[in-house]
Amino acid sequence: MAQTTVAAPAERKPKKPKRSQFSGMSKALVRRETISAYLFLLPSLVFFIGFVVVPMVICVVYSFMEYSMKGIEGFAGFDNYIRMFQDKTFIRSFWNTVFIVVVAVPTVTAFSLWVSSAIYKMKAFTRSFFRCVFYLPVVTGTVAVTVVWKWIFNAYYGILNQVAGTTGFDWLGNEKTAIWCIIMILFTTSIGQPIVLYVAALGNVDKSLIEAAEVDGATNFQVFWKIKWPQIMPTTLYILVITTINSFQCFALIQLLTSGGPNSSTTTIMYYIFDMVYKFNDFGYANAMGVILALIIAVFSALQFRITKSN
């Protein structure tokens, strides 16, 4: 699973008295500071523009083109977008994607919080051990993880069938179970980072508040809900956003395990885009789907920001 490299948000800090950023500085000094800051930013900015902004703009432009292996063959207007909503496979892939997100994101977040709550008070060695264990699937290559799972799910000699006594059952070849298999693997590869973040966030919760609440007779649940939860909310928001993006962009697992089958039951928008580019060479249509996927992710992320901020 590709991991985003966005930095974790800073924990909430106590408010300080308002003060001008440049107070006490001469104009020349401010200018020199600004130039230095921009110089530090420059490498990232160049790469951000070159590898994020420019491709995004090109993607939007190509989405309005008839574009195949032969190159751009003409202006398509909104045809690619209209076609998308008439394409049964796209509609199915949209619902599959939403299903994966709706199941995986809350599960990953809740499970990570539960595990973190259980381990953050443990001794440093034990805590590190558990963090390591849960982080292992993240640092292990997706291909290696997938190959192991493929053996586990194998219909003829897979360990799952041996344990469950369902010899011959094709977990990945059954429409009803294939997507759950994908979600399960996605779950195991997604919980590592949230656990590490939650352990850190819980460790930073103001202990004096907890002690005061306990002295006042607050229950464990009340301590969690009234004191810890508000203080780890920025971390929760970050975890929700990255898990949502990772779930939306789930691709390698599907490519290696099911190729989107059976009967498109595990085809996600991301995988369908890949299909359109590399199997059907329909680049214009794929770009249009990419634009829609980006919009969907943006809407989901905005919703998450809104909901968590309102809390």
Binding site: R32, S36, L39, F40, L42, P43, V46, F47, S68, M69, K70, F153, A155, Y156, Y157, G168, D170, W171, L172, G173, N174, E175, A178, L257, T258, S259, G261, P262, N263, S264, F274, D275, V277, Y278, K279, F280, N281, F283
Partner: protein, 443 residues
């Protein structure tokens, strides 16, 4: 001082990132030929990509070294692709303007896809040089499109199937095959698979399922296609290539038979297996037949197979199989550099037409020469006896239909259609839907 250090750090970051960016240029392929000693101005650098065909890629260092003895001015670096991700890599390279100069694969891609899209160089001059004219018409036709030759072939084979001889023997199923001609009729196939199933049920043989119709991905789709086409002598396309005909009466009947066999347990349909999984299952003795066999696969799985993989033609109602041809050769991407094109043609001449090198390279691919005057390249080698049944399969080659327009797209539609059929969709509906979509890509 602090500012100076900060500036220095920023510059270091910029240069280190620039160095990272530059690494793509120096991202050396997995291996490369010895450097040329010719003056720098006269050298030509070629990039060759090859799909895995036999052990050719493992032996390219030697081939290139031999070539460099004759042409020290041509440097060739190569990279091995795989069938899982190779197309992705090539498509990305084409779109990024970094396609290789030379590529080794079959006509489906070289001619039917990249050639059709105007990305390849016409190799008509190489074909014209072939004064002996000893390349069969079928191979020549498969190498060209509308008169332009986008492929220069090296070797040819017939895609076949194989059975686990000992399992068939123990199941009493050998009576249904003609061991001399390695053919069987559809009725014999049905009877043989039923016998294997009964032997499994009775515990006579230690195999889990008689055979697996794989339809989890595109890899090895020629196997399931050939199986369907042969069972009742159907064809996959119109002879003139104007339409896909998987919905013909014969093909529908064949799919119905396969569905019946899956239902009665004499075959299994696996919706998550691709050919590589099925081959592994065959090698493990999980199943007793494979529908994706040729000499290259024989070599790949030789160490794992603790039984005799007995090469067979696909079963057909009249006992006369029509096997799908597998042909491999070189194509040149039109990268707009005449010097590279000429250098690439020199390499093709060396590999495909130089008597000694060609014979050696053909043996590396594990297949057979396209030049009839090359005779038996395996004669006198340790492989000669092993090759005989594969050579026999080459006599059953059928019509080559893989250059039909929209071939790449139909490949992506074929296995999902099989998935639909084996998960309960009405056969006629699934096939009609497939043919409609496949035909929409023609023209």
């Amino acid at each position: 001082m602090k500012k100076f250090l900060a500036l220095l750090l920023a510059l270091c970051m910029i240069f280190s990132l620039a160095a990272c960016g530059g690494s793509t240029e120096s991202a050396a392929p997995e291996s490369s030929a010895p450097s040329s000693t010719a003056p720098e101005g006269d050298t030509v650098d070629l990039v060759l990509w090859t799909y895995p065909v036999g052990t050719l890629a493992d032996n390219l260092d030697g081939v290139i070294a031999a070539f460099n003895e004759v042409h020290p001015e041509i440097n060739i670096s190569y990279e091995l692709l795989d069938y899982q991700n190779g197309d992705t890599k090539v498509t990305s390279a084409i779109q990024g303007g970094t396609a290789p100069d030379l590529i080794f694969e079959g006509p489906e891609r070289l001619v039917g896809n990249w050639g059709r899209n105007g990305l390849m160089v016409d190799l008509a001059d190489l074909w014209a040089e072939d004064a002996a004219g000893d390349i069969s018409t079928g191979v020549a036709e498969a190498s060209q499109l509308d008169g332009a030759y986008y492929m220069y072939p090296l070797s040819v084979t017939a895609h076949s199937m194989a059975i686990n001889y000992e399992a068939f023997e123990a199941a009493g199923a050998l009576q249904y095959i003609d061991e001399e001609t390695r053919t069987w009729t559809t009725d014999d196939f049905v009877a043989a698979m039923a016998a294997v199933r009964d032997a499994i049920d009775a515990g006579t043989i230690n195999v889990i399922t008689p055979g697996i119709v794989y339809c989890g991905a595109q890899g090895g789709d020629q196997g399931t296609r050939a199986l369907v086409n042969n069972l009742y002598s159907g064809y996959f396309t119109q002879e003139d290539g104007t339409a896909y005909t998987a919905d013909s009466e014969e093909n529908i009947k064949a799919l119905e038979l396969l569905k019946t066999m899956v239902d009665d347990g004499s075959l299994d349909a696996n919706l998550s297996f691709a050919a590589a999984d099925e081959l592994q299952a065959f090698a493990n003795q999980t199943c007793a037949v494979t529908f994706c066999w040729n000499y290259s696969n024989y070599v790949s799985y030789a160490e794992q197979t603790q039984f005799t993989p007995f090469v067979m033609a696909f079963p057909s109602d009249d006992g006369v199989p029509e096997l799908e041809m597998g042909m491999y050769g070189f194509g040149i991407f039109d990268n707009g550099d005449d010097a590279k094109v000429e250098a690439a043609k020199e390499f093709i001449r060396f590999v495909c037409n130089d008597a000694d090198t060609a014979a050696e390279c053909i043996r590396y691919t594990g297949f057979f020469p396209v030049h009839s005057d090359m005779g038996d390249v395996y004669e006198g080698t340790d492989e000669a006896e092993l090759k005989e049944p594969f050579a026999l399969m080459s006599t059953y080659l059928g019509r080559f239909y893989n250059l039909t327009d929209g071939w790449t797209e139909q490949c992506a539609l074929w296995w999902p259609m099989l998935q639909q059929i084996f998960s309960g969709t009405d056969i006629q509906t699934a096939v009609t839907d497939y043919v409609t979509q496949a035909n929409a890509n023609i023209g």
